[in-house]
Symmetry: C2
Subunit: 598 residues, 2 copies
């Protein structure tokens, strides 16, 4: 049975010492969350994650969801009960506007909590996770009446939500979608069509499910300019908020998937289902991106979450399993063999994951703070700057943290040798669950294109220039610091590679856009390396300050940060050179073959 | 339903044009295999793979093996019938000594055939695959009587074989094993203990199963110096070769695994089972390595095999799935969208896999030729040189081709978007099946240690020096060729990095062996890049010669080789720089943390 312990100390270090959480207490959401309150909330979240969510993870995978003949779906044993506790504790509405029953706390805090819960049970946490995306879309694009009707019960978790985008013939290219909406006299629409891969599309957790559905209104323009977003509830809701008759929407089947067996992935059939336009007619794509951007951050977090729990188990196994002797002589001479954590190649795995996870955690929280500033600051320049950086970093977080999250799960599984391949040990589940995060909410190749094709150039490159300036100035200002030079040197080298890659696109993508496409995935990872390296420099510096001020019992914690930062710069950061070389290789040999030649 | 087509044209190009197969016709095994015969055998193997093995692959995964209460195991529907055809066609004994009923054909040809069959159905092919490893061990270490008793029926596939090494508390560190052997008056032994992860340990395919079991004879020295290898048949066999009573060996359970569901992975219980010493008393490790080395080459091939079939399906999907438009303008304007093969990021995936697979195929066959020379040449210097290179390349083939084979399966799955995550499409199976190859027959970290800790230094570095000389001279002799420079330049750079890494180990591992361990996995991949790059240089050259001689209809095939070789040098080869940097980073930050700090 796998173990899990929420890394609360690490989260607090990042929030308090690295990111200066207290500096944000002028924002409304932060006013109630002193460091003590933050710590108390994190402790509650960790208890719930460790004791309630985590014990259901492996059994949920093994049992999976069951669809019955009437189209209803039963989730694995214990899931509903755990969800009820989650709902009753108010976790779902942690960062939601109090006007609709939320607690109005920082999105940053929501993000910290989300890591633990997704580590403990990713499949279960997808039910409320999708609800939060749907809440965001209705909150931003809904009318006052719609918000009043739908948000309170969704915020309370009494109703859950879904995103209905994909159809059998279209995923990425939503312009092809066929689900149609026919306008009714009362202003509502009748929705008909089939959606696939609908996570949490049908289940037994909530009394209603609020589907947000992309469809094409009769007579709308072709392509993405003609799609609109609709609210389509499973059950009708009257003006008093009471749940009534079943709507014309049903689960046709659930998919047999590689992982996340505890989440029901549904084929949803819409048959003259009543729906309500959300946002502007033919403006569905914009409304969709509101929930999509939220979802992408959540999925990036899933990458970290699975990486973290896989890592913890690999550490545990590496300390327990005895096999062979250390190359430098026995470390546990009283035993027949040393624990395998003495072997450098096992260390390589553990240090690599650790170094990336801790930076990923910092980067997620750094980005979440940008979201809070973007939504809550009363300074327009701050808002814009934060929104720019959040938009820039969203595809990086989604694409990089899910690619590496999967890689890390595989590496952690490898530590177990043959046992890693046996389902009862739980490592296979982490690999299988982590795999989906690279695919859904925009496959990672799409994230790379979003970064290179959209985010880099938007507003004349304002976001990326600001980011390069920030990181460059950070390195420059610490250039003469002996203690910081080991970190800023590697970071500066990475930044130079990233700037060179950016420049290469500017010079070569215009004459041939394939040159941008050909380098996009490598560029995204290059960006991720710099972003993580920037976090490590800041974490190393924060730890140095703590040590200088006398860290007492916690000194080892801060000393270890220095070591891990050094490892990152020595072993992980050099990858920027390779990524740059690949970007600069361009598209010629990549695109030269005829399709038949493959 | 996935597709599969055996890449016969590519195999023939490598054998005939790149490796000069005909040059070996002075070796006995090659005397009967003119190019025509080789082609005919490959065509037969491809038909059997495509039409018989492949259709059972997905269903075999979904159905899995079933153990019954009496300990018997049933394989998936159709497996026994397909195995019977395989057996009756004599495939198992293709390269086995005719004295024991084999066909005595080149191991190289066996290797070519094995690729197709493992692509088509890896789980099924493990049954005969393990038999071949057991045959090799008995052939090399058995007495004349043992060979006569066991080999003919194994070669004929009437009996199958297994390797019994792992116990619950020991895998890599076989010195810890506890299974015991008690000497009997008649010279046989009574074997007792438990073995786990025994592939093909029990099944319904053959009338007998010949287990090769590592055990410790009562009173033997501790550690690996006290283990011996035993032949332990499922059923006793009398002097006339008739199968008799059940021996004291049984399948206690079968494992629920991540993949290769069609192969029964058994817990085997030995309870005073009668066994016969194979090879020298306390010389079990040496005998085991005979089958292990054979098995490692087979597992390396599994990496390529799964990579190839995953690639073929990704190509097929990329040509069929329409989504979005090419960045350079519509390529299929008559359709609502272009096939996704127009997108550079899809091309990146396909070209990367293609470039590595074609070189991997060449490297497997290059290595198999070394095996044939090592076994059959009458020139001692040639034998030794071939054996050196085979030994050097074995961990590289196993470690690198299985790591990349898995990566490629994941990349190919990604091409399918959400469909890749759904089991019925078959891409998940490739990922799950490929995963085990990184683990079994020595986890890849062990391969890296074998390469760095054992193979590099053996006989004063004779093998590695010969290899560096060969590749260096190859580059040097083509330095002034305009057509070859694009390839030898990249290869030479890679070779320089590899030599620098080797030098670094020589200078730094003596004072601290952790410096070797810390860089071993990166070194193994660095070696693999150079070895694959060397194949690409030779393939490009062979293709140039064919073109110069007028290739007719096949010109496109050879032109495409140039493009793919260029892609390899531009996009894959630059990774050597990163691998070298990691090797040279040493072990300090990797080993600095206390175990509690993880």
């Amino acid at each position: 049975m796998p173990i899990y312990k929420a890394p609360v100390q690490d989260t607090l270090f990042i929030l308090n010492d690295v990111l200066g959480y207290e500096r944000y207490n002028n924002l409304p959401a932060f006013s109630e969350t002193s460091p003590d309150v933050v710590e108390a909330i994190l402790e509650e979240a960790s208890k719930f994650s460790e004791n309630t969510l985590h014990p259901l993870n492996l059994s949920g995978d093994q049992e999976g969801c069951v669809r019955h003949e009437d189209g209803s779906v039963t989730t694995p044993k214990g899931f509903k009960d755990a969800y009820d506790q989650y709902r009753d504790s108010g976790w779902l509405g942690l960062a939601v506007d109090p006007e609709y029953g939320g607690q109005g706390l920082p999105y940053t805090l929501h993000t910290a909590v989300a890591e633990y819960m997704s580590s403990a049970n990713m499949a279960l946490m997808m039910y409320p996770g999708l609800t939060q995306g749907a809440i965001a879309a209705i909150y931003v694009h809904g009318t006052a009446e719609q918000k009043a009707r739908w948000l309170p019960n969704m915020t309370a978790g009494v109703w859950t939500g879904t995103m209905n985008l994909t159809e059998p013939h279209c995923g990425t290219d939503l312009g092809l979608l066929r689900t149609k909406a026919v306008r009714q006299k009362d202003g509502s629409f009748k929705i008909s069509g089939q959606k696939i891969f609908i996570s949490a599309g049908e289940h037994d957790m909530s009394e209603n499910i609020v589907h947000l559905v992309l469809a094409r209104i009769e007579g709308a323009p072709e392509g993405v300019k003609g799609i609109s977003l609709f609210i389509v509830p499973k059950h009708s809701v009257d003006d008093s908020g009471n749940v009534g008759d079943r709507n014309g929407v049903s689960c046709g089947s659930i998919e047999e998937k590689m992982g996340i067996h505890g989440n029901s992935t549904c084929v949803m059939n819409y048959d003259d289902a009543t729906g309500y336009l959300l946002g502007e007619e033919n403006g569905g794509l914009k409304a969709m991106f509101t929930m999509m951007n939220e979802a992408r951050l959540g999925v990036g977090m899933q990458g970290l979450s699975i990486s973290e729990i896989a890592y913890q188990n690999a550490v545990s196994y590496a300390n327990e399993r005895i096999q062979g002797r250390a190359l430098t002589g026995p470390k546990a001479p009283e035993k027949k063999a040393d624990p395998i954590i003495v072997h450098p190649d096992i260390r390589r795995v553990l240090m690599t994951i650790k170094a990336r996870n801790e930076a990923a955690r910092a980067l997620m929280l750094w980005s979440a703070l940008k979201s809070d500033v973007a939504h809550q600051s009363d300074n327009e320049a701050d808002k814009q700057a934060a929104d720019d950086l959040l938009g820039l970093m969203t595809p990086v977080l989604k694409g990089v943290l899910t690619d590496t999250g999967f890689d890390h799960a595989v590496m952690a599984q490898q530590v177990y040798g043959g046992h890693g391949y046996i389902e009862e040990w739980g490592m296979s589940q982490f690999v299988r669950d982590a795999r989906i995060a690279m695919i859904y909410e925009g496959a990672n190749g799409i994230q790379a294109l979003d970064l290179v094709g959209r985010k880099l150039g938007s507003n004349g490159g304002r976001a990326v220039q600001a980011y390069f300036k920030e990181v460059g100035e950070y390195c420059e200002s610490r250039r003469d610091s002996e203690t910081m030079a080991p970190f800023t040197k590697g970071l500066k080298k990475g930044l130079n590679d990233l700037q060179a890659a950016t420049m290469w696109f500017m010079q070569n993508a215009m004459k041939n856009p394939d040159n941008a496409g050909a380098g996009s995935t490598d560029y995204m990872h290059l960006f991720g390396l710099v972003a993580l390296g920037y976090m490590w420099a800041q974490m190393a510096e924060a730890a140095q300050i703590k040590l200088a001020n006398g860290a007492g019992d916690a000194a080892a914690f801060y000393e270890n940060k220095q070591v891990t930062a050094r490892f990152f710069m020595e072993r992980v950061m050099p990858e920027t050179t390779l990524r740059l070389a690949r970007v600069q290789a361009g598209s010629e040999s990549m695109m030269a073959l005829e399709a038949e030649a493959f």
